[in-house]
């Protein structure tokens, strides 16, 4: 092929290829969404949302509440620890003598933890908490392990958000005679709050959609949560319904599994869209747009 022709062909292939790649991702994504809806909607009953689960069918009240309770627990535990850890890494860690940012070891630990497979964390929870501490399958071990899983993510997003707060704000606060803690709360954290909240919402979406670490810490229960943190006989949540109910012989259980998948997708999408809206809103008024 002549050189000129070859360049033209490559250009066309490249342009077509980039769009084909985009289509290769977006088409399955759309298909996934459409098939979840198509499986759930024909048999959808609204009372799924408020009826309890029975051995023969019923609704998903228990699992829905369970997932929300797990998310609330993660918000309290991982939210507190993660935001404070991010605060430390961004604002307080002593810089190294070389001038590099401090907290290297801690950040590294956080990275290693986020690379830990979630099923392995679940196994650790099972061995150490469920069996080791005789907590049994219940809420607390599930929340702790799930929190351990998302804390690195929250810490990282908090740290990133705090680093985007202009130094001038801190200097201004100090010049006005604010105590460090007061300026942290009133100036620095407040400015960074859109970024922090976004990170929290995404972490909640991750936690709500997770199954592997819960299999051996919460296991499952058909009953609505009775208020026990430990020594329960299992704790129900939505992803388990998706995971197990689809290949049971009972048709109504299969439908519940599709319903659970739809509810999960809606929950996660709402969280992610809200997170995105917060980012967009906060960027509208900021001086330097990042994108």
């Amino acid at each position: 092929m002549p050189r000129k022709r070859r360049r033209v062909v490559f250009t066309v292939l490249f342009r077509g290829g980039t769009f084909a790649a985009l289509a290769l991702v977006l088409a399955p994504a759309a298909w996934l969404l459409a098939s979840v809806i198509a499986k759930a909607v024909p048999h959808w009953r609204w009372n799924v949302l408020w009826t309890a689960l029975t051995p023969t069918g019923g609704g998903l009240l228990g699992p829905i509440l369970g997932t929300l309770i797990l998310m609330a627990g993660v918000l309290v535990v991982a939210g507190t620890v993660g935001v404070l850890a991010g605060l430390h890494l961004a604002e307080m860690a002593t810089p190294r003598r070389s001038g590099a940012d401090g907290g290297t070891v801690l950040r590294m630990a956080s990275d290693v933890l986020s690379g830990f497979p979630s099923i392995v964390l679940g196994y650790v929870g099972y061995v150490a908490l469920v069996v080791g501490l005789h907590w049994n399958y219940s809420l607390l071990p599930a929340v702790l392990i799930l929190s351990l899983m998302v804390v690195p993510y929250i810490a990282k997003s908090t740290e990133t958000a705090l680093r985007q707060v202009p130094t001038a704000y801190r200097e201004g606060a100090e010049a006005l005679g604010m105590a460090t803690g007061y300026s942290l709360r009133k100036v620095v954290l407040r400015t960074a709050s859109p970024g922090i909240v976004t990170g929290l919402l995404i972490a909640l979406a991750i936690a709500g959609g997770e199954t592997a670490p819960l299999l051996f810490t919460a296991e499952f229960s058909r009953t609505v949560w009775t208020g026990a943190f430990v020594h329960a006989h299992g704790f129900g949540y939505l992803t388990y319904v998706v995971y197990t109910f689809w290949d049971t012989p009972s048709k109504s259980a299969n439908y519940l599994s599709y319903d659970a998948a739809l509810i999960l997708i809606v929950m996660v999408l709402v969280l992610l869209v809200v997170a995105r809206l917060i980012v967009a809103r906060s960027q509208r008024y900021s001086e330097g747009r990042t994108r």
């Binding site: 991702v25 986020s114 099923i119 199954t211 995105r276």
Partner: protein
């Protein structure tokens, strides 16, 4: 109205006692409160930042302690042998190297280790070119008002719970592949080494290739987001210079943009690989979770993560606890592999860009 004053016209009350800095008590209390707040933040943050480290050490110690007896008994065959046998739980317990285990127990995880690598390699091999294509389309080819919503759609894909993706994989995507793509691949691929792995019976869509493809869908958002961010950091002048010299789109992309961010893309890929290695639910549902080395690309098999998720229950039937210990060894192997891959990835990404972690958890 002042803090100590009375009604108008009344003589001011006796001056209150001032502290050493000359502040009245209320101010002083406020000052204490403020410095107390500073201390509270500082100590709270100090404690909080140690908790992930503590949790990590705790997890590693638990795994190591649990796995130690299994490591002593299983030895090297754990990595080369094939098959998990709990052994006879009713018969006599035997002792090897001072560790009690049921007679006839055998643990060889080679099929699981190989399966983990196979699914992950397929996932990365498919996801990498697709992600780079997407990143080019999003950053260079499409106007912002189209690329922004599309980029967000890809981000949303990263948020889809893996178990939902797995359900779709086993109910819809897998069977469709087995009807359309797999017969085509099996018929038309040449019978040469590596590719002959794709010959043979295609099954019903539960197997290695389905798992790999579903995994690739999970890691595409990670690699795309990172790569697109890297592309945005490539300065515009070299690219314009290339075009001014008469380079085509491909040549600019290949010789300037890609070369500029090459190591960053390697890092992003490793990050996706780390995620693929540790993924459980999508794999459990789509690969069939059968303990064996896949004879061809379409056959049901299992990975380390899937084996832990599906088999730990039956491991509990071993009264000596040796099966649970062997699963601890399995978990340890998985953790070591994916942590190493992740650290490598983060090290490369951090060295080559000013990004923190890209979207999503890495595992």
């Amino acid at each position: 109205m002042t803090a100590v004053g009375g009604a108008a016209g009344e003589a001011p009350a006796a001056p209150c006692r001032l502290d050493q800095a000359g502040r009245p008590p209320l101010r002083r209390a406020a000052g204490l409160l403020r410095s107390g707040e500073t201390h509270a933040w500082r100590w709270g943050a100090r404690v909080a930042v140690l908790l992930p480290l503590a949790g990590l050490l705790f997890a590693v110690v638990v795994l190591a302690v649990k796995a130690y007896p299994a490591v002593r008994v299983n030895g090297g065959t754990f990595f080369t042998g094939s098959g998990f046998k709990i052994g006879s739980t009713y018969a006599v317990t035997t002792h090897t190297a001072g560790v009690a285990h049921p007679k006839g127990s055998f643990y060889g995880a080679w099929p699981l280790i190989a399966g983990t690598l196979q699914t992950s390699v397929i996932a990365v091999a498919v996801a990498l070119p697709v992600s780079i294509g997407c990143a080019f389309a999003l950053t260079e080819r499409l106007p912002a008002f189209i690329s922004r919503p599309l980029g967000f759609a890809i981000e949303l894909l990263a948020g889809v719970p893996s178990v939902v993706l797995g359900l779709w994989g086993v109910l819809t995507f897998g069977p469709w592949l087995a009807r359309t793509l797999y017969p085509f691949l099996a018929d038309h691929l040449p019978n040469v080494p590596v590719l002959d792995f794709f010959k043979g019976t295609v099954g019903h869509g539960e197997g290695l290739l389905t798992g790999g493809l579903v995994l690739s869908l999970m890691i595409v958002p990670i690699i795309t987001a990172t790569t697109a961010d890297l592309f945005r950091q490539v300065p515009v002048l070299p690219k314009e210079g290339g075009e001014a010299l008469g380079m085509t789109d491909v040549e600019v992309a290949h010789k300037i943009t890609l070369r500029w961010v090459r190591s960053g893309i390697i890092g992003a890929t490793a990050l996706g690989l780390g995620r693929a290695l540790g993924e459980t639910m999508a794999i459990v549902l789509t690969v069939g979770a059968i303990f064996r080395l896949a004879p061809n690309a379409y056959s049901p098999m299992s990975t380390i993560a899937a084996a832990i998720a599906t088999q730990l229950d039956s491991a509990l039937t071993d009264g000596t606890g040796f099966a649970v210990a062997s699963y601890a060894e399995l978990a340890l192997v998985l953790a070591v592999i994916s942590v190493l891959v992740n650290l490598l990835a983060r090290w490369i990404v951090r060295r080559t860009s000013h990004l923190g972690a890209p979207v999503g958890r890495a595992a």
